[in-house]
């Protein structure tokens, strides 16, 4: 087993800094480079643990968001003149809604503006996904102040139960494949979603009950069995993040 190297807050702070600079620079190129760098770090540093896979999942989710945003962006809203790529059938709207249209000509300018807005947002999502991927949620909980009890429970549940769901999805899909189900289309997602939702609820309740019966949150202060130390490398990583914010 690989030994932990970084403090649980390090990657979160760093990701936060990168996300800020992505938002400040606000160019698609910078956002894509940031995602690339973050991706490299994740693939070289993450552990083989359930939460390690959250990066891949946020990447997928981000791509979905990007696609949906772009489709909506080019088909609804105020037209931007320019090179016409293709023309969609236009849906007539009443007179009291001037300036807005659905469908019509799709211009290159419009497409690129929709894409670049989307890329920035998605990059920020992916960057936080990377932080989740690099940090053990359990260790994160241990450094959070006990005053954040409810928040702490929610964080642990969200970050430890959700990744386990990734394995559950695979298991449930497998089982349903055996029932000879056609796994395409929206209906198939519903068929996976229902058992999944039930399982995650049951798991979260179990975990909350276990934490409760083991005295979590009873005392205001909390001792540490193995103190988690903040090392030079942590400082260096966080400083690099701040530097990037400064430069952006």
């Amino acid at each position: 087993m690989k030994k932990y190297s970084q403090h649980p807050l390090t990657w979160w702070l760093w990701s936060f800094a990168i996300a800020i600079s992505v938002a400040r620079v606000n160019t698609p190129l910078f956002a894509i480079i940031a995602v690339g760098v973050v991706g490299l770090i994740v693939f070289s540093q993450r552990e083989d643990a359930p939460w390690g896979k959250s990066f891949n999942w946020t990447l997928k989710v981000a791509l979905w968001i990007l696609a949906i945003r772009t489709i909506i962006g080019v088909s609804i809203g105020v037209p931007i003149p320019g090179t016409t790529l293709f023309t969609l059938p236009r849906i007539p709207l009443p007179d009291w809604m001037p300036g807005i249209r659905i469908g019509g000509a799709v211009t290159l300018e419009r497409l690129s503006s929709a894409l670049s807005e989307g890329v920035t947002i998605c990059a920020i999502i992916v960057i936080f996904g990377a932080a989740a991927s690099l940090t053990s949620p359990h260790r994160l909980l241990r450094v959070l102040p006990i005053a954040m009890y409810e928040f702490g429970v929610a964080v642990v549940i969200a970050t430890s139960v959700l990744p386990q769901l990734v394995t559950s999805v695979a298991r449930i899909r497998q089982a349903q494949r055996l029932r000879g189900q056609n796994l395409r289309g929206f209906a198939s997602y519903r068929r996976v979603a229902i058992p999944l939702l039930e399982e995650s609820l049951a798991r979260s309740l179990d975990l909350a009950a276990a934490m409760d019966s083991r005295g979590y949150g009873v005392k205001r202060t909390r001792t540490k069995y193995r103190p988690i130390s903040w090392r030079m490398s942590d400082t260096a990583i966080v400083l690099s993040g701040i530097l990037i914010v400064g430069l952006s």
Partner: protein, 536 residues
């Protein structure tokens, strides 16, 4: 130590009370077993002890429960953490840390114990549960038995006075279960720990419990010594059924006592020949050089075997030996495997939709994975539609398997046994040529197990089908299987008629066989049949 005075419990929107007017006093160092049919409220009773019910689950509680003088009404579960260690049914769901050591320290950290104390207690608990070698391992990579031990150890570090265990052995193989239970037994005797335990497999625990609380499911409870309860309970281990059948009701509950009482019977009967069922010669499942590896871990190591029609094959072996992998490969859903699996001449991996449903039926470890509709009715309709059979057929099947299930119930609200029944009827509605079940008896009571046995025997016999099941339950294997395949580390280490495989190892011998050795009798029915033959 624990005092229940006139305790009644009702869940909101429920029609029946879970527990009605229970008065019970448990002394220090007592080991109390809670039994009852599935869904009768065993878990609720256990969780009442530290106040998880009703603080965490809701519900209306009447009466008073005190633990060491503290009332659960006034103190929240967290406030009793130093007093009560509780281990839930699925310990993996309750783990909050990554490594074994951190998990053990969690509760002590929460209660702000000084670091030196924590260090000492962690070492103590590691030794007590023989976990020292695993101390820095990631919990997710441990086997089921090891996880169970970690869960118990992390309760013990608090030096609790009471330990509450909800079915601690249901997921464990017989040897791991034996290990966990003997540790609990030792704790009771050495540390005078008070233990309350719920368990379906009575044969594993009945020997060392002081008292039994029997929950009937209608709210009423009976409390008494093991002998008293076993005299009246329908929930009883095979040894009690054997004693009843032989008219030796006061012979005791241990294998040793029963052996003494039946010595004459055993010796006066000539050793009967083993009559094994001859399977048909039509191969149902042909497995050739099947290998499977997850990363560097070998799950299956070039297995070759053939399973014939009309055979009921039990796949046994340690936790993590490769049983589930083998079953999934037979069903054709392991994409990483090499080698071939043919079911009646068809490659199992290439099956899909209707042909798949009609060729192989598979019940996963969590039967609810197969279910997704909002009600039993919709689930059954979907199965009827899928298989183009008359509407109502699937529900008819379900009514036969588990009578009394309402059409409008949500599958989630069914008991474990009922849910298994529903999944089974959905799968059986396609009348598959081969039926595969992965640990079907987890969490099932004796009654549900009996009906499962009946259904599977009937299915194999009427339709001349092959059934393959993975299980840890030797008693089920004795009742059901015609052949046992024993897997260790991805290899088949034993393969033969049930009687040969089960009798060759004391750990896997069913209770009746232990009592009746050297006679080759596995079931109560075998003993009766042998006696009748002698009289005739």
């Amino acid at each position: 130590m624990i005092k229940f005075s006139n305790v009644s419990l009702v869940y909101p929107h429920a029609i029946t009370t879970v527990i009605e007017n229970l008065t019970l006093e448990i002394a220090e160092g007592e080991l109390v077993l809670v039994i009852g049919p599935t869904g009768s409220g065993k878990s609720s009773l256990l969780r009442l002890v530290n106040g998880l019910v009703p603080h965490h689950t809701g519900g209306i509680l009447a009466g008073e429960i005190t633990v060491d003088g503290l009332s659960t009404r006034e103190v929240k579960p967290g406030g009793l953490a130093h007093l009560i260690g509780i281990v839930g049914q699925n310990p993996i769901n309750g783990f909050v840390a990554d490594t074994v050591e951190e998990e053990l320290a969690f509760a002590m950290e929460a209660l702000n114990l000084p670091q030196e104390v924590m260090r000492k207690r962690v070492e103590e608990a590691l030794d007590l549960m023989s976990l020292a070698a695993l101390r820095s391992r990631n919990i997710a990579t441990l086997s089921g038995g090891e996880q169970q031990r970690v869960a118990i150890a992390s309760a013990l570090v608090m030096h609790p006075k009471v330990l509450v265990l909800d079915e601690p052995t249901s997921a464990l193989d017989p040897i791991a279960a034996e290990e966990v239970l003997s540790i609990i037994h030792r704790l009771v005797h050495d540390l005078s720990l008070t233990v309350i335990i719920a368990e379906h497999k009575l044969e594993r625990v009945i020997g060392f419990v002081d008292r039994i609380v029997l929950i009937n499911g209608d709210g009423s409870t009976v409390i008494g010594s093991a002998e008293e309860i076993m005299a009246i309970s329908t929930i009883a281990p095979p040894i009690v059924h054997l004693a009843r059948a032989l008219g030796l009701s006061d012979a005791g509950l241990s294998v040793r006592d029963m052996r003494r009482a039946t010595a004459e019977l055993r010796e006066s009967t000539p050793i009967t020949d083993v009559t094994s069922v001859v399977p048909s010669s039509t191969p149902a499942i042909e497995i050739k050089k099947l290998s499977l590896a997850y990363g560097s871990k070998v799950a299956l190591n070039s297995l070759t075997t053939t399973i014939f029609d009309n055979e009921i094959v039990a796949v046994m072996g340690r936790n993590g030996a490769g049983k589930s992998s083998l079953l999934r490969s037979i069903a054709g859903i392991n994409d990483l495997q090499t080698g071939t699996v043919h079911i009646h001449g068809l490659v199992s991996k290439d099956l899909h939709s209707k042909v798949r449903r009609e060729t192989v039926g598979y019940i996963p470890q969590e039967p609810s994975d197969l279910l997704y509709a909002q009600s039993v009715e919709k689930e059954c309709e979907q199965a009827d539609k899928d298989n183009q059979i008359d509407s109502g057929t699937t529900f008819g099947l379900l009514a036969q398997l588990v009578p009394g299930v309402s059409l409008h119930t949500h599958p989630r609200d069914l008991s474990e046994g009922q849910r298994l029944g529903l999944a089974l009827s959905v799968v059986l509605s396609a009348n598959p040529k081969v039926l595969i079940l992965d640990e079907p008896t987890r969490g099932l009571d004796y009654e549900a197990k009996r009906s499962l046995t009946r259904i599977l025997l009937e299915f194999a016999k009427t339709f001349n089908r092959a059934v393959v099941l993975a299980t840890h339950d030797v008693e089920l294997v004795a009742e059901l299987a015609t052949r046992v395949i024993f897997i260790a580390d991805g290899d088949i280490v034993a393969d033969g008629p049930t009687i040969d495989v089960l009798l060759s190892s004391p750990a896997f011998a069913p209770q009746v066989a232990k009592v009746m050795a050297p006679q080759p009798w596995l079931r109560v029915g075998d003993v009766i049949a042998a006696i009748e033959k002698k009289i005739l």
